[in-house]
C-alpha cells in the first residue's frame, strides 16, 4: 500500500487491522484521515478518543494522540481532554452501541454543552465486537443473536438525537457515499462546537449474515439505493420517499458559544 494518506496518518506497524473483509470501518477511517489532511491539521494537536467495540479499535491505527477508553465513555474522557487543553482538536470514534446505549447519556450531555468535540458514529446497526446482539439502532423487526424472534425495540436516529440534545452540527452519511462523508467530517471538525457525523456502516459478518443482506457488496449497494439527501427529499413527492432513509446535513448552527471558550472567559474575568 503506498497511498500517501495512509502512509502519513496511519501507524503502519499496526496494520493490517483486525476488521473482517467487507467491514465498513476502514472506509470511514480513511475518510477521517483525508478530512484531517484537507484541513491541514497538525498531527501533534489531534486527539482521537474511542470507547469499546470493533469501530473503537480505529484510534490504534491512527498516528495522533490516541485514547482507547472504556465501553461508552469515550465522550466523557474526551470532554476532560478538550476542557483541559482546548488547543487540541478532539475527535471521538464510537459504535452505535457505544455511543447511544451505554454512552447515550454522555452523548446528549456533550451535545448539550456544545463542547468542541467531533463525534463520528460508525453505525452498523448491531453490536459487532460481541457477536451480533441488537443495538439501539437495529431496525424494528430485524434479527440479532439476542433478538432471535425479531427486534421489538424502536431504533434511535442518532444524528437527530444529537441535534435535539443541542449539537450545533449534525449530519449523516454512509460508507457508500465516501466523498460526501469525507466532506461532512471535514465540516464537522472545522465547526466550532459539538458536531456529530453518523455514518451508516456495514457489518456483513453479523448484521448482514443474520438478516440475510447478502455480500458486503450487496450491503453497500443497498446504502446507495436507499439513502437520499434531505435537500433532495424536500423536493420529492411522498411516493418516491417511501422506504428511503435520509442522509445529509440536518443541523448547522453557527455562533453558539463553544464550551471551552465560555470557560476561558470565566478565567479571564476572574483575572480582573
Amino acid at each position: 500500500m503506498n497511498n500517501p494518506i495512509v502512509e502519513k496518518y496511519f501507524r503502519m506497524d499496526n496494520l493490517p487491522h483486525i476488521w473482517c473483509p467487507g467491514c465498513g470501518n476502514g472506509i470511514i477511517m480513511l475518510a477521517l484521515a483525508k478530512a484531517i489532511d484537507s484541513l491541514g491539521l497538525d498531527k501533534d494537536k489531534v486527539c482521537v478518543v474511542s470507547g469499546i467495540g470493533c469501530s473503537s479499535r480505529a484510534p490504534g491505527y491512527l498516528d495522533f494522540n490516541t485514547l482507547h477508553t472504556t465501553h461508552g465513555r469515550a465522550l466523557a474522557f474526551a470532554t476532560g481532554v478538550k476542557l483541559a487543553n482546548p488547543e487540541l482538536e478532539v475527535i471521538v470514534i464510537s459504535g452505535d452501541g457505544d455511543a447511544s446505549a451505554i454512552g447515550g447519556n454522555h452523548l446528549i450531555h456533550a451535545a448539550r454543552r456544545n463542547i468542541g468535540i467531533t463525534t463520528i458514529v460508525f453505525n452498523n446497526n448491531i453490536y459487532g465486537m460481541t457477536g451480533g446482539q441488537y443495538s439501539p439502532t437495529t431496525p424494528n423487526g430485524d434479527l440479532g443473536t439476542t433478538a432471535p424472534h425479531g427486534n421489538i425495540d424502536r431504533p434511535f436516529d442518532i444524528a437527530q438525537l444529537a441535534a435535539a440534545a443541542g449539537a450545533t452540527y449534525a449530519a449523516r452519511s454512509t460508507v457508500y457515499h465516501a466523498n460526501q462523508m469525507e466532506k461532512m467530517i471535514e465540516t464537522a471538525i472545522a465547526h466550532k462546537g459539538f458536531s456529530m457525523v453518523e455514518v451508516i456502516s456495514t457489518c456483513p459478518t453479523y448484521y448482514g449474515r443474520k438478516n440475510k443482506k447478502g455480500s458486503a457488496a450487496n450491503m453497500i449497494a443497498f446504502l446507495k439505493d436507499s439513502f437520499i439527501d434531505v435537500k433532495v427529499a424536500e423536493k420529492l413527492p411522498e411516493e418516491k420517499k417511501a422506504g428511503k432513509f435520509l442522509m445529509g446535513e440536518f443541523k448547522k448552527e453557527e455562533g453558539v458559544v463553544e464550551y471551552t471558550v465560555a470557560y476561558e472567559s470565566i478565567i479571564e474575568r476572574l483575572k480582573k
Partner: protein, 377 residues
C-alpha cells in the same frame, strides 16, 4: 511573616491541599457528604487558571478527570459511597493505563443510598477490590482537618511519582468537622511532579528507563503521539495478547507498591510503648480511640493506639511485630468488620484480634471502644 491560620472543614482542606499540590483539573458529580469538595474546586480552580466541570454522573466524572490528567494537568475527582461504586470500572482503567489521579471518597453510610448524611468506614475493602482484576492500590485515610490537607498533597505526590490513581478515604466526620489549621507556606511541603520524556530520546510510552520507577508520561499535545488503552499493552502502548507480556506488565505495576512499602506506608502510634493492649484504628474512629485510651489510662488500664494512615498497602511488617508485643489487638472501625480481616490475616493467631464497630449511622464512641477493651482483657 504572619501565619496563615484558617478555620475550615475537612472537605475544604482537601481542596486547599489539592491546590497546594498543583491540582489544575477537577471533574465530578455532587453527592453528600463530599459536595463541598466540588463546590470549592468550582470556585477556586478558575482563579488559578485551572478547570472544573460538573459531569452528568460519577462515571463521567472520573473519565473526564483521566482525560484531564492525560493533557499533563494534575487531576482529581471526589465522591461518596454510591458514586464510588460507579467509578470502579474507570479506577481500573486508570491503574492499567497508569494515570496519575486522586480519587477522594468521603465515606457515608451504605449500602445503596443508605444513610447519606451519616459517617461510615464502609469502603475499606472496596477501595482494594472494587474494580475487577488484580491491580496495585494506594489508599490513605486522614483523622483530622490538617491531616486531610497533608494527605491530599501526599496523594497527589504519590499519584505523580508512581503513575497510578491514589485514593483518599475520608468520612463524613472528618469531611464536615471544622478545625483550625495552619496552611503551609509554598515550598514548605515537598511537591512531586511526574517525570516527562527526556528530550532527544526516543519516547517509549510504557517502557521504564534505567533508574526510573515508572514510565515517563508525555502530555497529549506535547509532540509525542502515543496510544493509551485499557487493554493489556506492551511498552509501545499498543494492545498485546501475549500472556508473557501481560504477566510482565502486571508484575511491573504490582511492584510499584510491593517494592516501595517503606515509602508508601505511614502510621501513627500513641502510647503504645508501655501499653498492655493495642487498639488498632484509622480515620475518624481513631479520634474516638485516642479519647478511649486517655479514659482507660485514668482507670489504670494501659491502652495504646496504632493508627493506620496508609490503608493500602497494609502495614504488614509493623502489625506482625505488634502481634508479638501484644496479647490483644482491638480493631475499632465504623463498619461491621472489614480492616479487621486484614489484621487477622497478618497476625495469624499470634495475638487475639477483636472487633468493635457498627454500621447504623452512629459514630463509634470512646465509651464503646473502652468497654470492648475491658471485655477482652
Amino acid at each position: 511573616m504572619s501565619k496563615n491560620i484558617k478555620l475550615m472543614q475537612g472537605n475544604e482542606a482537601c481542596v486547599e491541599g489539592a491546590l497546594y499540590a498543583g491540582m489544575r483539573f477537577y471533574a465530578g458529580y455532587p453527592i453528600t457528604p463530599s459536595t463541598e469538595i466540588a463546590e470549592k474546586s468550582a470556585e477556586l480552580l478558575p482563579t488559578v487558571g485551572g478547570k472544573f466541570i460538573q459531569m452528568e454522573d460519577e462515571i463521567a466524572g472520573i473519565a473526564a478527570a483521566i482525560g484531564g490528567a492525560l493533557t499533563g494537568k494534575k487531576s482529581m475527582t471526589a465522591t461518596s459511597g454510591p458514586g464510588f461504586s460507579l467509578k470502579q470500572e474507570n479506577i481500573g482503567y486508570a491503574m492499567i493505563a497508569e494515570i496519575p489521579l486522586v480519587i477522594v471518597n468521603v465515606q457515608r453510610g451504605g449500602p445503596s443510598t443508605g444513610l447519606p448524611t451519616a459517617p461510615a468506614q464502609g469502603e475499606i475493602m472496596q477501595a482494594k477490590w472494587g474494580t475487577h482484576g488484580d491491580h496495585p492500590v494506594i489508599a490513605l485515610s486522614p483523622s483530622t482537618v490538617r491531616e486531610t490537607f497533608d494527605l491530599t498533597v501526599r496523594a497527589f505526590n504519590l499519584a505523580e511519582k508512581y503513575r497510578t490513581p491514589v485514593m483518599l478515604l475520608t468520612d463524613e466526620i472528618v469531611g464536615h468537622m471544622r478545625e483550625k489549621i495552619e496552611i503551609p507556606e509554598p515550598g514548605e511541603l515537598e511537591i512531586y511532579n511526574r517525570l516527562e520524556p527526556v528530550e532527544g530520546e526516543t519516547y517509549i510510552p510504557y517502557g521504564v528507563r534505567e533508574g526510573d520507577l515508572v514510565p515517563r508520561m508525555a502530555a497529549f499535545g506535547s509532540g509525542h503521539r502515543y496510544h493509551v488503552t485499557g487493554l493489556f499493552h506492551d511498552e509501545t502502548g499498543f494492545p498485546s495478547n501475549s500472556t508473557e507480556n501481560a504477566g510482565f506488565m502486571l508484575d511491573r505495576m504490582m511492584k510499584k507498591v510491593e517494592d516501595n512499602l517503606d515509602d508508601l506506608i505511614e502510621y501513627e502510634e500513641y502510647m503504645l510503648d508501655d501499653a498492655e493492649v493495642c487498639i488498632f484504628s484509622y480515620g475518624s474512629s481513631a479520634r474516638a480511640a485516642k479519647t478511649a485510651i486517655d479514659q482507660l489510662r485514668e482507670e489504670g488500664i494501659k491502652a495504646g493506639l496504632f493508627r493506620a494512615i496508609t490503608i493500602w498497602p497494609f502495614a504488614e511488617k509493623r502489625v506482625k511485630a505488634l502481634a508479638e508485643q501484644f496479647d490483644n489487638i482491638v480493631v475499632a472501625e465504623l463498619n461491621l468488620g472489614q480492616y479487621v480481616y486484614e489484621v487477622e490475616r497478618v497476625v495469624k493467631g499470634a495475638a487475639k484480634v477483636s472487633h468493635v464497630g457498627k454500621a447504623n449511622g452512629d459514630v463509634l464512641t470512646p465509651a464503646e471502644i473502652a468497654a470492648k477493651v475491658k471485655e477482652v482483657l
